[in-house]
């Protein structure tokens, strides 16, 4: 900023440890009481005057062509206000659940009746939903170019030990507890108001403008709270656009379309499946020198891309192939740390099998090869040691196969992961009012991670004020634009922008009060509700008195990210360990304990940082043991689009969870790094490895259900074959 011409770039930095009263401490969420008392309003709770209920007719077939479409009966029904075909005769449908017609009616039952009154005839076409066997997929298997690094052939010849295994995880769905959806209304000819459950408050208007033919500037987007997104809520979605169109057809009346639970699971989320045959070559001392992988999997119609393999460890000689299988299932969406959980399992399970073959402790194998992790090798080394202590690894670990008698076998597994997480582009306006109150506004959103609280912490600490002195306003695209909450970029973006705004605002305050304190502005500091002269606390002025000097005119300062000073960087490193019990008579896996040791640079709020790790582990336990989007080979439909057979872990399933966050000068120095995604990456691999350690054989595929565990035990070795 121009006024800040005396300041060199280096001054935009995070406060030293002794200057932090809130940053890095355990602060409860500012919106916690609102949430636990039910006062917090989610999009689902938005009910506007005169609102209509929108419903969507979905195609029951996985592949079909529409040969007849007759909406006339629905249009004539009393209470029906708009009927909007989303497909026409001749259109091809490529997955079960795709949208065919949208209707708006005075209430939900009427809308449902209208849906049932619509006549659609389909010509059924052959569908394909299998993804585990690329050979069976025929022309639906799309190989991508082979990638080679170093000299894999020579390295495999040189290797003294080679292991080969098959690993993978199926399609799963996001299963947001607040379904996708929006409430849209036209306020006059050219003005649209959108309440939407979204991860990108500032990004929605631009996506709706084209389809609606309205300038983005005329589209107002709001959201106070969201009930989960996990990467699946960046777009208004076809049903959001449909809600807007229906509203227009109905004379502007608000139309609410929130997906039903089955639709939510069928069409609004999918993490692609990935499977792979992996070979790893090593020296007898455990030095890993060669990698080869052939992977395959599906994300629906658009072909999946190759995985970042081998994961974290840059094995010098590699050959990789990927085959994307195109299937008739709904399109994939980013799922918390896209591609990483899959790449992590394929790599960490293969290394664990290598350790078993070498009769080495997998922790020692990781430590031996950790140099391949590059820049963060030291962090991993430190984290592995801390995790081992918290897990009592050396005391509890045994070679593969629990020798103790009885059906319950216990085992340990370890995995490491990484994530970039640099802060996104973000702007915020910070206003100091003459009465001393402070407000921050930005078009961001709180994905459930505690964004409001983090912003308040940064601003309060910078201005030397208590937390409740700062009012954070987000969730409105009339505020300065902020990036979408994806890629764990929010904390770095909002905290950096807020820090810069607060530093600049403080400079202006210093300039105003310096004469009163007989000091130069750069001699001042803000501390515990006062502005004072550094080194001479007797010369000070209370914050409110200082603000009274604003002469009745609020002071507003814009903060931006990126900007001067390095407040956010990329590259979080984490380690997780799992302790499981497996009943080898039933194949049931229970989690005894999990340990997460995680780095994310400078921690703004210790409490919500730990929360992310707890949540990540719980979500990870869920996909490791339970989750699967089961597609029926016969009908092509999802068989479990409900909360009863789409199984999520409950509290009784998660065992003891231990979190340790890395802190200290070395971590602070790197600035703020995102944390939303990293802790969900390792659970699949750590748990799979723990199960192999317990029962003596690898269960190749997640989720680790009784049938898969019993099958691996019966085959005495699952996929882990010696070569």
């Amino acid at each position: 900023m121009a006024e800040r011409n005396r300041v060199e770039v280096a001054e935009y930095k995070w406060p030293e440890p002794e200057r932090r009263r809130l940053i890095g401490t355990r602060v409860s969420r500012v919106d916690g009481p609102e949430k636990v008392t039910g006062r917090a309003k989610y999009t689902y709770d938005v009910n506007r005057p005169g609102m209509l209920a929108g419903k969507i007719l979905r195609c029951p077939h996985a592949h079909a062509r529409i040969v007849r479409l007759d909406t006339s009966a629905a249009e004539k029904m009393p209470g029906v206000r708009a009927v909007l075909p989303l497909k026409k005769v001749g259109d091809e449908i490529l997955w079960a659940g795709d949208e065919v017609v949208a209707v708006a009616a005075v209430d939900e039952p009427t809308a449902e009746d209208a849906i049932r009154a619509i006549v659609v005839e389909y010509e059924k076409l052959p569908h394909y939903v299998l993804d585990t066997d690329p050979k069976a997929a025929g022309e639906r298997a799309r190989p991508t170019a082979e990638q080679i690094e170093g000299d894999p052939d020579a390295a495999f010849r040189e290797a003294e030990v080679v292991v080969e295994g098959v690993y993978g995880m199926p399609l799963i769905t996001h299963c947001c507890l607040e379904a996708h959806g929006s409430v849209v209304e036209w306020e006059g000819e050219n003005q649209v108001l959108v309440h939407i459950s979204t991860q990108a408050v500032s990004g929605i208007a631009g996506q709706m403008a084209g389809p609606l033919g309205v300038p983005a500037s005329n589209i107002r987007v709001k959201q106070d709270h969201i009930g989960g997104g996990f990467g699946s809520k960046f777009s208004p979605d076809s049903w959001g656009i449909a809600a807007a169109r229906l509203s227009k057809m109905a004379g502007g009346r608000p139309v609410k379309i929130m997906l039903e639970r089955d639709a939510e699971l069928m069409v609004a989320g999918a993490r692609p499946s990935y499977y792979g045959r992996v070979r790893v070559g090593a020296k007898r001392d455990g030095t890993v020198i060669a990698w080869e992988s052939e992977t395959w999997g599906t994300g629906g119609i658009p072909p999946t891309s190759a995985l970042p393999l081998p994961y974290v460890l840059r094995i010098p000689n590699q050959r990789k192939r990927h085959i994307a299988i195109v299937t008739n299932s709904g399109p994939a969406r980013a799922w918390r740390a896209p591609l990483h959980p899959q790449a992590c399992l394929l790599t960490m399970a293969a290394l664990d099998d290598l350790a078993a073959e070498l009769r080495m402790d997998p922790l020692d194998l990781l430590l031996k090869n950790i140099g391949l992790a590059g820049e963060r090798a030291d962090v991993y080394r430190e984290e592995l040691q801390i995790a081992a202590e918290l897990m009592e690894w050396k005391k509890k670990w045994h070679p593969r196969g629990d020798p103790s008698p009885g059906p319950i076998k216990r085992g340990l597994g370890v995995s490491i992961h990484t994530w970039p997480g640099r802060g996104h582009a973000c702007r915020c306006d910070l206003t100091i009012y003459p009465d001393g109150s402070v407000e921050v506004k930005l078009g961001s959103q709180d994905l459930g991670t505690g964004t409001r609280t983090a912003i308040a912490i940064v601003v309060a600490d910078t201005l030397g004020l208590p937390l409740d002195a700062v009012r954070v306003r987000i969730g409105d695209n009339q505020y300065p634009p902020a990036g979408g909450s994806g890629g764990s970029t929010t904390i770095g973006g909002v905290s950096s922008a807020a820090r810069r705004a607060a530093l600049d605002a403080l400079d202006q305050m210093f300039a105003r009060v310096a004469p009163l304190l007989n000091a130069a502005p750069e001699q001042l500091e803000a501390w515990e509700g006062r502005i004072r002269v550094k080194g001479d606390p007797s010369r000070s002025i209370a914050w409110e008195q200082a603000c009274a000097r604003l002469n009745g005119m609020p002071l507003t300062v814009r903060g931006e990210n990126p900007g001067p000073g390095e407040l956010t960087t990329a590259g979080a490193a984490g380690v997780q360990m799992a302790d499981v019990s497996v009943d080898i008579e039933t194949g049931i896996v229970r989690i005894n304990k999990m340990v997460a040791v995680q780095d994310c640079g400078l921690i703004i709020n210790m409490k919500t940082a730990e929360s992310q790790c707890y949540g990540g582990m719980i979500m990870g336990i869920s996909y490791a043991l339970f989750e699967e989007k089961i597609l029926d080979p016969v009908t092509g439909r999802m068989l479990n689009p409900n909360m009863e057979f789409y199984k999520l872990a409950g509290l009784a399933d998660v065992g003891e969870l231990v979190v340790h966050m890395m802190t200290g000068e070395k971590y602070d120095r790197r600035g703020v790094i995102g944390l939303g995604e990293p802790p969900v990456i390792s659970p699949g691999a750590a748990i799979s490895n723990a199960v192999a350690n317990a029962i003596g054989v690898r269960v190749p595929f997640l989720p680790l259900t009784p049938d898969r565990v019993l099958d691996a035990l019966a085959k005495k070795g699952g996929s882990h074959a010696r070569v």
Partner: protein, 331 residues
Amino acid sequence: MRAFEYVSPTTKEQAVALLASKWGETEVLAGGTDLLALMKDDVVRPRRVVNIKEIAELRGISFSPRAGLRLGATATLEELLAHPDVARHYPALVQAALGITSPQIRNMGTIGGDLCQRPRCWYFRAGFGLLARDETGRSLVLEGDNRYHAILGNEGPAYFVNPSSLAPALIAYGARLRIFGPRGTREVPVERFFRIPQTEAEREYDLQPNEIVTEVLVPPPPAGMVSATYEVRHREALDWPLATASVALVLDGGRVRSARVVLGQVAPIPWPSPEAERALVGKTVTTEVAQAAADAALQKARSLGKNGYKIQLARVAVRRAIERAVQEGAR
């Protein structure tokens, strides 16, 4: 959900008069934990719903050493768990009810509703009917995904599994159902209440559309009886068991004088196993004897393709239920 008429009679005579004589037109409403889901999913479409919770004589649980246990049809699962005599004399019933791991469902769900709840087969719940056939008549279960389907009594045409956790325990105790209809009261052993439907028009239990279950009568526990339920479940959180077994053994000087072994979640009906019972009678229960009974119980089991693992799980459930009954009975 489609619109419907709601009625709330206060006597069983009124209730029966309000029920239609054809399936599909009316439905009985108890706790509603299953019926509401069926209606929302458009699997049943009653034009009238008859609430039976206002009928006083359908409520309550009572026990006397002479008459045994009387469970009113609308007594809740939570009331069952809370009753001290049930816990003391019928542990297999309590262990079965504990497996329904949601307090919300146990607070609302009733004993009659647990017995009359409809199968969870995902083809049935998606609107393909109890026999789960597509428009060409082929069985979706046989051709599709049958990982949770029947391993016993699965010669067809039905392949779903009976979902009730209470039924196997009640059968093991020799319980009877009292049913009220236009022609008055009749009694049926719980064991004979369930049946495998042969056509889409039949229900999976022996009720007329205008009959209601009014109570369950469990005989007093014979001297020397030990009993238990064991269920194999994937999730600890609310989940359906993959296989269960309830057993009631009458021991005489350490030997089994008589035995009832009933499996759940394995067949379209709760599945009593006379084979297992024969393997137990006259023996002292050891691990080998329990294992032999378990093997006998599953001898005729058959995989439909993806549910073979359930045979092993059911075997474990039978063995562990027998062992549990004997161990806990000895305390």
